[in-house]
């Protein structure tokens, strides 16, 4: 209680110091949540790519949706070490509303069962069911969680995609990343949609059922995946074969940059917050010199003086940490809610981040409090008593 009274003695100063820490911890929480989100995306991507090779046409754009001939599936399947090769089509759900930075809504055409059970990645269905081989010629769709929410559709509803009416048969569980904004439809339906995206010159010369945008290759057990990817790239003109290791390498570097930003924010808040706590506590010690002299004179030990001041500094840190976490959580929540509609939930506040932020600021306060507390404990009680 007397700790709080000491803090309340100079309300404005305490409030300003707490605010300084709050801002630092707020930034730590917000950036940390962003990093968590990115790690989650990377982890799911990494899961997705694990144990498979995704072959795309490298002459195409960044979205990887340039057309490949479905006949390549047989060519790839003939390469040694390939257990199964499955064509897929993915294209934008609505080309008119491609929002630059966020993950765009996608339509993905799938051929259920064609992987012969080799696909280890599985997006679980929350409601309804997944697509099956029997759906091949139907207009049915499984929606990602965010997409279902955005369209306001549930199982049994009809959703219109590019002028075609699909019956929603399932909704996926949230994965916090790409599948959340994806509609999975049978391959044939996706091929038809994709055909419409192609330039008229190309469109006239191909049939929808010959199209794919990617071919997923499942290697035989024991096959060297990297070597197989190299063989595929050598055998198929213009093919780009992405393996799990390659994916990890590509995204790993951008994740590293982001982590460096987090460390930078943490360091800055450490320095600014630490200095302001040292300043505040040093001023408190100066103001309370007489009081510290009295306490020492009537038998208060050095350890006790240090303990009191360090607890006070720790409390400042704890308050700043809790406030920063609270404000950070509010911002993360509001930003996610605002972005949810466009499939742009950018933040993920995990319990670990929250606990780390509060612990970090408390320890920061304690460590910063040690220096002024130590000098207070070293005061000569007699000189301190005479201090005016």
């Amino acid at each position: 209680m007397s700790l709080l009274r000491n803090l309340a003695r100079r309300r404005l100063r305490t409030a300003l110091t707490v605010t300084g820490i709050t801002i630092g911890i707020w930034a730590l929480v917000v950036f940390g949540s962003m990093a968590n989100k990115i790690s989650a995306i990377v982890a799911i991507g990494s899961d997705y790519y694990a144990g498979k090779i995704v072959v795309t046409d490298k002459s195409g754009g960044l979205d990887g949706d340039s057309p490949m001939a479905i006949a390549l599936v047989d060519d790839i399947a003939a390469i040694g070490g390939v257990a199964a090769a499955v064509p897929g089509v993915s294209t934008l759900l609505d080309p008119a509303s491609n929002s630059g930075i966020s993950m765009p809504d996608m339509v993905v055409g799938a051929l259920p069962g064609a992987d012969h059970g080799k696909n280890m990645y599985d997006a679980r269905v929350a409601q309804g069911r997944a697509l099956t081989a029997e759906d091949a010629d139907s207009l049915v769709a499984v929606l990602g969680s965010d997409l279902a929410r955005k369209l306001g559709k549930g199982v049994g509803d009809t959703v219109e995609i590019r002028g075609m009416a699909f019956e929603v048969v399932g909704i996926l569980e949230p994965t916090l990343t790409a599948p959340d904004t994806t509609a999975i439809v049978p391959l044939a339906a996706a091929q038809a949609i994709y055909l419409g995206d192609l330039p008229p010159v190309v469109r006239e010369n191909v049939r929808a059922d010959q199209l794919a945008t990617d071919i997923t290759v499942y290697p035989d057990a024991g096959t060297d995946v990297e070597a197989l990817a190299a063989r595929i790239e050598a055998a198929i003109p213009n093919a780009s074969a992405m393996t799990g290791a390659e994916f990890d390498g590509v995204v790993g570097s951008s994740v590293a940059i982001f982590n460096a930003i987090i460390v930078g924010v943490a360091l800055i808040s450490l320095i600014v917050g630490g200095l302001s706590v040292i300043n505040t506590m040093a001023m408190s010690v100066a103001e309370r010199t007489r009081e510290i002299g009295i306490k020492r004179a009537i038998g208060g030990s050095r350890a006790r003086v240090i303990r009191e001041l360090v607890s006070e500094a720790g409390l400042i840190g704890l308050l700043g940490g809790l406030l920063g976490l609270g404000l950070g959580a509010v911002v993360v929540y509001l930003a996610n809610e605002a972005g949810r509609g466009s499939g742009m939930a950018l933040f993920l506040l995990t319990p670990q981040t929250a606990i780390f932020a509060v612990l970090f600021s408390t320890i920061l306060g304690v460590v910063a409090g040690i220096i002024p507390a130590w000098s207070a404990a070293r005061l000569d009680p007699v000189a301190a008593l005479r201090y005016e």
Partner: protein, 246 residues
């Protein structure tokens, strides 16, 4: 029996490289149990310094003269660690200072409890004793007031209650009446006399107030860092000694 025995007590303060103050130049002093002693003298005579040595707030100088001796109930205090001196201050001594003597954020009873807790009492026991001491000094009904809500005289009575909370053998007071008007000052002095007579506690008062000196058993007069004279104001009556022993 002597509560404090000091010999060859010297203290030099270095204010800067060329400015040294020889506050005590070799003082012998002995304080008997149950005594009420005044240390008097003009400013700069070394009276406060002597009190700081007796109160273990400072240690006597070891150099430039015969080895100092300072014993407290038989224990050598000349080379005690800060921790050991702090413990003795907490458990065996009580202190009253001139002004701003109390912790401003704590109530009267919490200020008194503080000394009890420093001496190792639990919170409940410290509170009980603190209330008992505040009752002794006649401030029980002001126990939950902060120092800023108390008059100067009341604040000094809280300080005395704090000094008494651990039943110390020795109470040291530096100019306890320095900030009080003559009426309050006489009241406080009466309280000290009463405690000294009734509880046999030893009081050492540093003062330049002749009335305070006149109320004591003995006056140690200081001048220029030396004891100039010892004056017996009045003989302790056999009655006093009996009570002191009790």
């Amino acid at each position: 029996m002597a509560v404090i025995e000091g010999r060859n007590l010297r203290k030099t303060y270095t204010l800067s490289r060329r400015n040294e103050v020889r506050a005590l130049r070799g003082v012998d002093v002995s304080i008997e149990a149950g005594e009420l002693v005044a240390i008097m003298g003009p400013s700069g005579s070394g009276k406060s310094t002597l009190m700081h040595l007796i109160g273990l707030l400072h240690s006597p100088d070891q150099d430039h003269g015969p080895a100092p001796e300072l014993s407290l109930g038989g224990r050598d205090a000349t080379r005690m660690s800060d921790g050991a001196r702090t413990r003795i201050r907490a458990r065996e001594m009580g202190f009253v200072f001139q002004q701003f003597n109390l912790v401003p954020t704590l109530t009267a009873v919490e200020n008194v409890m503080l000394a009890g807790e420093y001496a190792g009492l639990g919170r409940r026991q410290a509170r009980e004793r603190a209330i008992a001491r505040l009752t002794t000094v006649g401030l029980a009904e002001r126990a939950t007031h902060r120092p800023s809500e108390l008059s100067g005289g009341e604040q000094q009575r809280v300080a005395i209650a704090r000094a008494l909370v651990n039943d110390p053998a020795l109470v040291l007071a530096d100019e306890p009446t320095g900030n009080l008007d003559s009426h309050r000052s006489a009241e406080l002095l009466g309280l000290i006399r009463k405690l000294n007579r009734e509880h046999g506690q030893t009081f050492v008062l540093v003062t330049h107030d002749a009335e305070v000196g006149a109320a004591c058993d003995r006056i140690i007069r200081m001048r220029d860092g030396l004891v100039q004279a010892m004056e017996l104001v009045r003989e302790p009556t056999p009655d006093d000694v009996g009570e002191a022993a009790a």
